[in-house]
Amino acid sequence: MQQRITLTVNGADRHLTIDPETPLLYALRNDLGLSSPRQGCSQEQCGACRVIMDGEAIYACTTKVKEANNRRITTVEGVSIDGALHPVQQAILDENAAQCGYCLSGIINRAVLLLEKNPSPDRSDIQTAFKDHLCRCGAHNRIIRAIQNAAREMHHD
């Protein structure tokens, strides 16, 4: 039942021989050594596993690896720009926008996409964009501020 799968992850082609039904999350974490997509629920309810596939924020927990065959995937390990932190990552650091940080990977990916589509989101744009991302520590306001700071930072460039 093994199948050869090619994933373009963070710009590089990666080949796997794997059960095609395997969740993409496990392939990324266990076979490709990418720890950033976190497992929270495995049922599209928390957003901790969210990665970017062909420009969409998808749930790596329920996407099967065969559905990602020959597609472009970006994880938090790959959002940096020319080796520097992405403005969203830097803003989260500067704002201490977390407590445990478990929710951050999914949020960073979602934020990167949001800022591509909406370069200056207001508070309620961000709240709506993150309606599917859970944070149990109550770091929401800091995360919202960090994303707004990142947006401003990107404008200045």
């Binding site: 039942m1 059960d19 039904e21 395997t22 969740p23 496990y26 974490r29 266990n30 050594g33 990418l34 720890s35 950033s36 997509p37 976190r38 497992q39 929270g40 629920c41 495995s42 049922q43 309810q45 928390c46 901790a48 994880t75 938090v76 390990e77 940096s80 932190l85 990552q89 989260i92 650091l93 500067d94 201490n96 977390a98 407590q99 445990c100 940080g101 478990y102 929710c103 951050l104 990977s105 960073i108 508070r123 309620s124 961000i126 709240q127 709506t128 993150f130 309606k131 991302h133 859970l134 944070c135 149990r136 520590c137 109550g138 770091a139 929401h140 306001n141 800091r142 919202i144």
Partner: protein
């Protein structure tokens, strides 16, 4: 002098157990407390950096390893910064003193002539200098803390009290493998547990051969109703578990009581009832109600809270490895996100029937836990399963369903209050009865049973021990049951209800959430009965100026806020406040909430909150405000949305759809005001805002629509019911 040492330092006085100067120019400081997402590592690092005069980025914090770290028991009850902070401060002061003495000898001068900057000791009389690392030369201290060194006076602090960047976040924003689920060890296998569908189910049968022949399966462990599956790869273990769930036969022995009657169940079932005097229960008969003859009004109310979940975003996990070591016999190493690596080690040794010394527990972070969640159970599960794969590490993960349905919940509570009011509005008599199940279900080694789920399910089981009432000051059900107000007569009774419908244990704040919800809602009800402003009414009953200061701070800040109000006639706006001093001895917190109530949908929408906190000397202001705000948001979620649902078969809140929590669109803006008291000791603040948050919301709803909500959560259905009655 050693009697002046902080407790854990007296227990482990050897400086080398606490602090190491590494060859790369960094310092490692060890703490027995563990990072739970609350930022403790950062606070500990700041204290160490301050006393040593070493830059913060050169400090490394190592925590929670039973073979390396000092035993600091449990990371709980907001005690870390007080206990471990004090120990690390003294350790660092002693290390500095030791190093300065050496430097003075080297430079033939006296200590008074030395200054230190980022670990470089300079002689002010010459231009010589020498670094801590040169002085240590990779050697050990080989001395014990003796209490002779004096930490810096607060006026000299340059790092404590300043905003610092969290030391753990740099790795987290780039997705590094920092959590326990990310561990990868050579030859590692994957494990999952198949739990019964509910508490009352026992294993009957399963087509074992069918499961064993699935791809990658290494072993299927069945020990009574403790069932686990081990595979080479994660998807293989998950596939097998899925199949097992479909085909396993269980038998039901008993059922859960009716959830509708939960609160009667608590207030009428047999309980161990103890009067609480000055926050501490005493083994004395329960006295009669106190009353005041001169009273003009008597007011009564009953409040309730349901079972709540910790609801960590990362399900519990652990790694276990059994090895046979020459000269040491069989050893077990467990990586766990338990709040008490030393404590869980003892509890596991009891179940495994091996000496504690043959187990090493090493802390690894998981997502925030907010108390005793599934962490310890996962460690036990992993240890039991890993026995089947001697020599190979086993990574065990709980599923979301495991976490929701088996974690030990925050107990349901019933709070009954009655007070007599005098004509001038003063409270003349206060009667308070709180009913709840135990808030203390942590696994600890004990002769009369075990708190591990696995221990209950094994073929040769160890039963759950009978709940015992906590007798410590503000320790469990009665945490914050004793009001912080000046009352001429009070009668406070805690009732530990021994029969518990659901498994319960410690959740952030323990009884304080329910008790402060009741007391602070009732204070507003009393103010209303007395025809007084609720804030004035509180201030009239408080003599502690620091308490008054946080209340006035939120009031003044809230008064400057110009809320944008929708002219939608269906929205009604309200403001409410509440106060408490955590454990009547720790952080002071006041919370003021603005919200709207939609008269059509009965939906409560939080708009803005102001929090004021006084946690004594501030170590890490940003960390402190993060904790105060995070606690508020979590409590708002408990208060507005959360309750564990169950039916006769078992828990029905098994995922985030059936147990919803507050989401981004529902988050209010929050202002946090910190009142610094550098002359007073630091007080833990991680649990300070949960209590006042709930009552502030209830008081604001009452302000908005004139309805008093006394039962958490305040769902639209509850509000509709209150409106109808």
């Amino acid at each position: 002098m050693t009697d002046r040492l902080p407790f854990t330092l007296r227990q482990t006085p050897d400086l080398d157990r606490w602090i190491t100067f590494n060859e790369d120019g960094t310092v490692t400081v060890c703490t027995g407390k563990v990072e739970l997402g609350q930022g403790i590592k950062t606070a500990i690092a700041i204290i160490c950096a301050e006393e040593l005069d070493v830059d913060l980025h050169n400090i490394r914090v190592q925590s929670g390893d039973t073979e390396a770290a000092p035993n600091e028991f449990m990371t709980a009850g907001s005690g870390s910064i007080e206990a471990s902070g004090a120990a690390v401060r003294q350790v660092s002061a002693e290390a500095r003193q030791f190093l300065l003495q050496r430097a003075a000898e080297e430079m033939h001068t006296s200590i008074e002539n030395l200054t230190v900057e980022n670990g470089i000791v300079a002689n002010v009389q010459g231009n010589e200098n020498i670094s801590y690392w040169q002085l240590m030369q990779g050697r050990n201290f080989k001395v014990s803390a003796n209490g002779e060194a004096t930490p810096k006076p607060f006026a000299d602090h340059t790092k404590v009290g300043k905003r610092a960047q969290r030391i753990d976040l740099a790795d987290k924003v780039v997705g590094k493998p920092v959590y326990i689920q990310d561990m990868v060890l050579d030859n590692m296998v994957h494990g999952r547990i198949l739990r019964p569908p509910g508490y009352h189910f026992r294993f009957q049968s399963l087509d074992q051969d069918g499961i064993r022949s699935m791809p990658g399966i290494i072993d299927l462990v069945i020990d009574g109703s403790f069932i686990g599956i081990i595979a080479e790869r994660e998807e293989q273990v998950v596939n097998a578990l899925e199949k097992m769930k479909q085909i396993t036969q269980w038998a039901r022995h008993g059922e859960l009581p009716d959830q509708e009657a939960l609160h009667d169940f608590l207030s009428t079932n047999a309980s161990h009832s103890l009067p609480v005097i000055d926050g501490t229960p005493v083994e004395e008969p329960v006295p009669d109600f106190v009353t005041a003859e001169s009273a003009v009004t008597t007011v009564n109310a009953t409040y309730t809270k349901p079972f709540h979940m910790h609801g960590s975003i990362g399900p519990s996990a652990a790694v276990a490895l059994w090895q046979s070591e020459k000269g040491r016999g069989e050893t077990l190493t467990v990586w766990s996100h338990s709040q008490g690596p030393f404590v869980v080690r003892g509890a596991m040794a009891q179940v495994l029937k091996i000496p504690e010394e043959s187990i090493r527990v090493i802390h690894r972070e998981n997502a925030g836990c907010y108390g005793h969640n599934g962490a310890d159970d996962a460690a036990m599960d992993a240890a039991l399963l890993a026995k089947a794969v001697q020599g190979r590490p086993l990574l065990l993960k709980w599923t979301r369903d495991d976490e929701h349905s088996w974690e030990p919940y925050s107990p349901a509570m019933v709070m009954k209050v009655q007070a007599d009011l005098l004509r001038d509005g003063h409270i003349a008599a206060w009667n308070y009865d709180v009913f709840s199940n135990t808030h203390g279900g942590r696994p600890v080694a004990r002769a009369d049973g075990s708190h591990f789920i696995a221990a209950w399910h094994m073929a040769d089981p160890i039963a759950k021990p009978e709940a015992r009432p906590g007798k410590g000051s503000h320790s469990g059900i009665h945490r914050n049951a004793d009001p912080y107000y000046d009352l001429p007569q009070r009668r406070v009774i805690k009732h530990l209800v021994k029969v518990a419908p659901l498994r319960t244990s410690s959740t952030r704040g323990l009884g304080a959430y329910g008790n402060v919800f009741a007391i602070e809602s009732f204070m507003d009800e009393l103010a209303h009965a007395a025809g007084m402003d609720p804030i004035e009414f509180r201030l009239m009953h408080l003599t502690d100026e620091r308490a008054a200061a946080v209340i006035e701070a939120v009031r003044d800040q809230a008064n400057t806020i110009d809320l944008v109000r929708d002219d939608n006639p269906l929205l009604s706006y309200g403001r409410g406040m509440a106060f408490s001093r955590y454990k009547n001895a720790k952080c002071y917190a006041a919370v003021c909430v603005d919200l709207s109530v939609d008269l059509e949908t009965s939906n409560i929408h939080l708009i803005h909150a102001v929090i004021a906190g006084d946690a004594g000397q501030i170590i890490d202001p940003d960390g402190l405000s993060n904790q105060l705000e995070g606690g508020f948001i979590q409590s708002a979620s408990w208060t507005l949305k959360e309750q564990v649902l169950y039916d006769a078969d078992g828990i029905t809140s098994r995922d985030w759809d059936s147990y919803p929590i507050l989401t981004f669109p529902e988050i209010p803006t929050v202002d946090v005001i910190l009142l610094d008291h550098p002359e007073s000791r630091s007080l833990g603040a991680g649990e300070a805002t949960q209590g006042p948050a709930s009552a502030a919301i209830a008081n604001a709803v009452s302000d908005a629509v004139g309805l008093r909500l006394r039962d958490v959560p305040f769902t639209p259905e509850r509000l509709k019911k209150a409106a109808a009655s």
